[in-house]
């Protein structure tokens, strides 16, 4: 077995936040004494990523996704716990480590604003000391995959948000990193552009065998990109595994779609009727009884069509978070 590309063990990050009450008196008071509280942004999480794996990091705002990502890319020091990425301790920020990773942040940009993106690419070429041949090769690849052609020569400020994001991603990948951290790479983009970026990431992951860890709060991102997901909430790990397993684990119900002649029949004896339109019933049944109910439905009624489905992923996640909220 290969050693994991990313290894995280009991990682914890505690922030000390000073608080100030409103009002002049309180402001004066804070000169002398500041009330401080500790907040655990990441509260003891562990997971491993194999080389070449693509994993989605999921959680509501403030769950600790970005903090974790920053610790793994070496920007932040953890309070306690350990992590290795490609065998390096990230926050030591050793050059051989930094040369093999990259960080993309959907809400920040590193491209120089007033000039064409190509010049910023040149900067990264110099910083990462990319050999000319490799640079040309990667630039060609990225230009093709992302459709950058005409964008490269326009000043960055004249690009749309989506175009800029494509250039940001390209700039971050020129040195062909083997570990890619993406923090909300599709935030604010329209659906088409989101799909485009997703397709690219999958392609990049496969073509170059890079390990990819991305955070997002768009379910569609995660569904499309990552087979495996890691869910955190309030800094704690809730789930780590296949998306389908998550659904299994956190849903006690399945929905049965059944098509019969009309809506006259009373199906309440089989399960909770959620809706009916043109003879198309949607039933919710406890997971354990799914098989039995299906059997009975087929035996008792003139069924035209019947499908058993998991509830939509958004609902599942919502349920997960709802269960865990304090």
């Amino acid at each position: 077995m290969k050693s994991p590309s990313i290894h995280v063990q009991n990682l914890r990050k505690v922030y000390t936040v000073s608080q100030q009450e409103a009002g002049t008196a309180a402001a004066l008071g804070s000169l002398v004494h500041r009330h401080k509280i500790e907040i655990a942004a990441v509260d003891g999480i562990s997971f491993d990523l194999a080389a070449g794996e693509m994993v989605g990091f999921l959680g509501p705002n403030g769950a600790g996704k970005t903090t974790t990502l920053k610790m793994l890319s070496g920007v932040l020091h953890p309070t306690t716990g350990e992590a290795t990425v490609l065998g390096y301790i990230p926050w030591k920020r050793e050059k051989p480590f930094l040369r093999q990773i990259t960080l993309v942040m959907g809400q920040r940009n590193q491209l120089v604003w007033d000039i064409p993106a190509l010049h910023s690419f040149e900067l990264n070429r110099a910083i990462y000391r990319i050999p000319p041949d490799d640079y040309r090769y990667m630039l060609d690849q990225l230009t093709e995959l992302l459709g950058l052609g005409p964008l490269l020569h326009k000043p960055v400020r004249n690009l749309s948000l989506g175009e800029r994001m494509k250039c940001e991603i390209a700039a971050a990948l020129l040195h062909r990193p083997s570990v890619v951290f993406l923090d909300e790479p599709t935030i604010g983009l329209d659906v088409t552009m989101q799909r485009r970026i997703r397709a690219f990431l999958t392609e990049y992951n496969q073509r170059f065998g890079a390990t990819v860890l991305l955070t997002s709060h768009y379910m569609a991102d995660v569904e499309a990109l990552a087979k495996r997901i890691v869910v955190i909430h309030h800094g704690k790990l809730l789930f780590d595994g296949d998306l389908s397993v998550l659904v299994q684990k956190f849903t006690a119900h399945k929905t049965i779609e059944v098509q019969i002649g009309d809506c006259q029949a009373d199906l309440n004896q089989y399960g909770e009727v959620l809706s009916c339109a043109d003879g198309h019933f949607t039933l919710r049944v406890p997971k354990a009884e799914t098989a039995r109910v299906t059997e009975r439905l087929l035996a008792d009624l003139p069924v035209i069509d019947l499908t058993v489905e998991d509830p939509p992923i958004e609902e599942v996640i919502e349920m997960v978070f709802a269960q865990e909220s304090p």
Binding site: V75, R93, F97, L98, L103, I115, A126, Y128
Partner: protein, 261 residues
């Protein structure tokens, strides 16, 4: 050597950025001339009432003004923009990008912005300096020139280190732009020979805010006022401050990344 190569690349990129706004060149040209003009008028007014200012003759003060423009140009060419970038990137969180680069983050940040047209100030400063030296009839040999350049470098390092310490304060405090603006007005004090000021102010402008080492000392080197003591102090201070600011930067970075928590 790699540092130099990176600097060249950054410089080229800045130049291209600037060429997109050619108007800036003329704006800067106008400003530089206005600023120099006002300086000269100021001198003219003062020297219309007196022949010497604290032992400095008009041409010597003029040479000082030249050095002032030269050093001011150096500051606004590279030091100030880089430090502004540091402050901005701490606030906007884009410092993360610099931190995930396989080069020294301090270096990357320091050279990441260049105000190309400040070269005008530098050239103008050199022009005024040469003009003043010619008028003084002073013969500047290779030795004096070397000392002058050494002092200029020491002054540059001192100012850079000082600014780095100020800008690195942004790791702890939200708002430090003020400090940079104020430095500008303190630097103005360097237009005049530091020896004019009362003791406490002279001391402050030498060691608290090292304006003296940036402007007065190099000018002294050219006007034959420099003694060995000052020269050694300048070099020593440059070394100490550079190391000190580096340590301070590291402490700031530790604070930023929460290593101490």
């Amino acid at each position: 050597m790699n540092y130099l190569r990176l600097f060249v690349v950054f410089f080229r990129v800045s130049l291209m950025g600037e060429l997109a706004y050619r108007v800036n060149f003329f704006v800067q040209l106008f400003q530089s001339f206005l600023s120099l003009g006002l300086s000269l008028i100021g001198l003219a007014v003062i020297f219309s009432f007196t022949n010497t200012l604290g032992g400095w003759r008009p041409d010597e003060v003029l040479a000082l003004v030249g050095v002032y423009f030269l050093v001011g140009g150096m500051i606004s060419l590279i030091i100030q923009p880089g430090m502004q970038e540091l402050i901005d990137s701490v606030r906007h969180g884009t410092l993360d990008f610099a931190l995930t680069k396989p080069e020294d983050a301090q270096f990357i940040i320091s050279i990441s912005r260049v105000e190309i047209w400040s070269l005008i100030d530098i050239l103008m400063g050199i022009g005024v300096l040469v003009f003043a030296l010619v008028r003084m009839g002073e013969r500047v040999g290779g030795w004096e020139a070397a000392i002058f350049i050494l002092m200029l470098l020491a002054g540059g390092v001192i100012i850079y280190s000082f600014w780095l310490i100020l800008a690195a304060l942004s790791f702890w405090f939200v708002r430090v732009e003020n400090i940079l603006t104020v430095f500008q007005s303190m630097f103005e004090a360097g237009r005049w020979p530091i020896s004019l000021y009362p003791g406490w102010l002279r001391y402050g402008l030498t060691f608290v805010i090292p304006v003296a080492f940036a402007v007065t000392v190099p000018a002294e080197a050219l006007t034959g006022r420099l003694n060995w003591e000052t020269l050694l102090i300048a070099v020593a201070l440059a070394v100490v401050l550079f190391i000190g600011s580096r340590l301070f930067w590291r402490a700031g970075l530790r604070h930023y990344s929460g290593a101490s928590a």
